[in-house]
Symmetry: C2
Subunit: 335 residues, 2 copies
Amino acid sequence: MRATVKDVARLAGVSPKTVSNVMNGIVPVSGPTRFRVEQAMAELDYVPNLSARGLRNGRSGVIALALPDLGTPYSAEIAHSVVEVAHQQGWSVQIEETGSDPTREYELMSRARSNLIDGLILNPVVLDQSAVKVGVSLPPVVLLGEVSQKLADRVWVDSIAAARDMTLALGRTGRQRIAVLGAAGGRGSAAAALRTRGYQDALGELGIPWDDSLVIPCEKWSPDSAARALTAYLDANPVPDALFCFTDSMAIGALSVLWKRGIRVPEDIALAGFDDIADAKFAVPSLTTVSFDKRRVASEALRLLTERMQDREGPQRVVAIDYEIVERESTVNGP
Amino acid sequence: MRATVKDVARLAGVSPKTVSNVMNGIVPVSGPTRFRVEQAMAELDYVPNLSARGLRNGRSGVIALALPDLGTPYSAEIAHSVVEVAHQQGWSVQIEETGSDPTREYELMSRARSNLIDGLILNPVVLDQSAVKVGVSLPPVVLLGEVSQKLADRVWVDSIAAARDMTLALGRTGRQRIAVLGAAGGRGSAAAALRTRGYQDALGELGIPWDDSLVIPCEKWSPDSAARALTAYLDANPVPDALFCFTDSMAIGALSVLWKRGIRVPEDIALAGFDDIADAKFAVPSLTTVSFDKRRVASEALRLLTERMQDREGPQRVVAIDYEIVERESTVNGP
DNA sequence: GGCCCTCATTACATCGATGTAACGTGTTGC
DNA sequence: GCAACACGTTACATCGATGTAATGAGGGCC
């Protein structure tokens, strides 16, 4: 059987509470006593029972991270950063996938309320409706990304500005017919809307008239879905001068399609993505993209979360993460 | 304050234990009573406290998944599958990253012993030494991948056979000088050794003499590291006929280098990977690779884990997952 | 020397859910 | 009509750690 405080106390010749005091370090314990207790803990190979501790003081040391799909490089990189940063600060991370399924988001909420979780970092997809529950008796929540409603603390990259800057960068290379891939398909993703808006703003500045036929919707933001959408598009339309994909994953799918069709990047078409996932640098050709520090996203989210644990009533806060247009081979200036 | 069984019991006019009985469904509860209790639970928006439940019955409903690096597509896809399958069976998943740091693996063990975790699925890297702890007072463990020691239940893909088959497939296209990328660099990865062995076996069958200069080591199994290793290699050696990368991630790094140098794939060199990550299909050109069902890996791991929870003493089991050589553009037969 | 004060340590209750064993009810059998 | 029997329900103890309030010992001060 596993050793408990009681066992340690008996072996050290003290009371259970003293053992607890040694572990927590709040209540002072005399040197010799502390030493005996530590010896006993080592000897019995004592490990505290986190369920008991969690029950007693209402906190478990676990936070949940909810992402649409861990299989996506973007989600995976965010998860990686969050796990790493959280770990450094002594938190464990429970991963939940919401998929495109709203019921999962609901389950998630109830699980979050079950006290095994001290906080929740949520990267919403559809959510706007389910997040209404925020604040009922949920632990603190921090949202990642663009969300229309102001429901909780939030960390995001300014999608409008970034999409605008990227479009301007493409325009500056002399490309006129700039298409975007990833516009809201069926369900309206907030990010899709914002990035489309930034694109639109930039067109205005560039003096390029809006052209509906250059806005390519895409059901999901995956390479697969992007490849299908682009294939269908190219079957029915001329090749644009540039293609701005709303995520790198889509850009990678697009690259594959373009290559199969013998459309050269960047000679025939400039290609840009968004997110700067690890593989963007190794795409063929390497991918121009909107880059931002994912570690920073993670650490800011965690900071907001822990601060919110202290003060549940303070004003809501929004942290914007800097971004940068990284120009790589896929948009090199034409000759 | 959050509602507890007591509150529900009071409202329903029964004892707390009856509420518990309704939830657990083991002890029979009469229809009307059950109904009153369920009403009360709904009205109070009752959510059970999992810490308390975990303390009482020694299980938390959480399993841990420990991977080297979530940022890697391979790890991410495995994590995705595990989370999905686990969720279907009512488990939550806590993610731990071991990185290349053995101390993390140790921390992980002690965390796993802290009772917030009912089981552990571990994809080891260096571990052979740390896993010695398995069995002390750890929860059930299932290992993923190749491990030399027989410490616990295990799910794996037969790396030797797969590497052999892939090498044979490359040989069958008429390529003679077949190189491998990813051989054990500094620390000895078990998988690297096994895949190298399969490669060696195949060379024998093909009647191709072993050539040390075709075995390219690589420090980490990342695109980055692969790109560096291959660049250095090509600076000092002629271009091989074929290159078998021990992971798709490395192959993607290799593709990028080959493209930059104007070495055509598959015309000048055939390229193959291992793992069949999502992006392999969208690489330019699409990547020939060793494919296996990651969902199956996850479900088998979970099956072994849950069965091990029932019977901690049974014999150790090893489940091999079928693999398949998927031939794509990167190894198309020469003219 | 006696009193008080400090500071480490202790006994006990508590967090919330649930297994155990005892306890009513209402039913069946003779 | 009374004993025996189900079956649902209850009181209580328990899981392990920790906050609270009380206890004890030791030291300093007058």
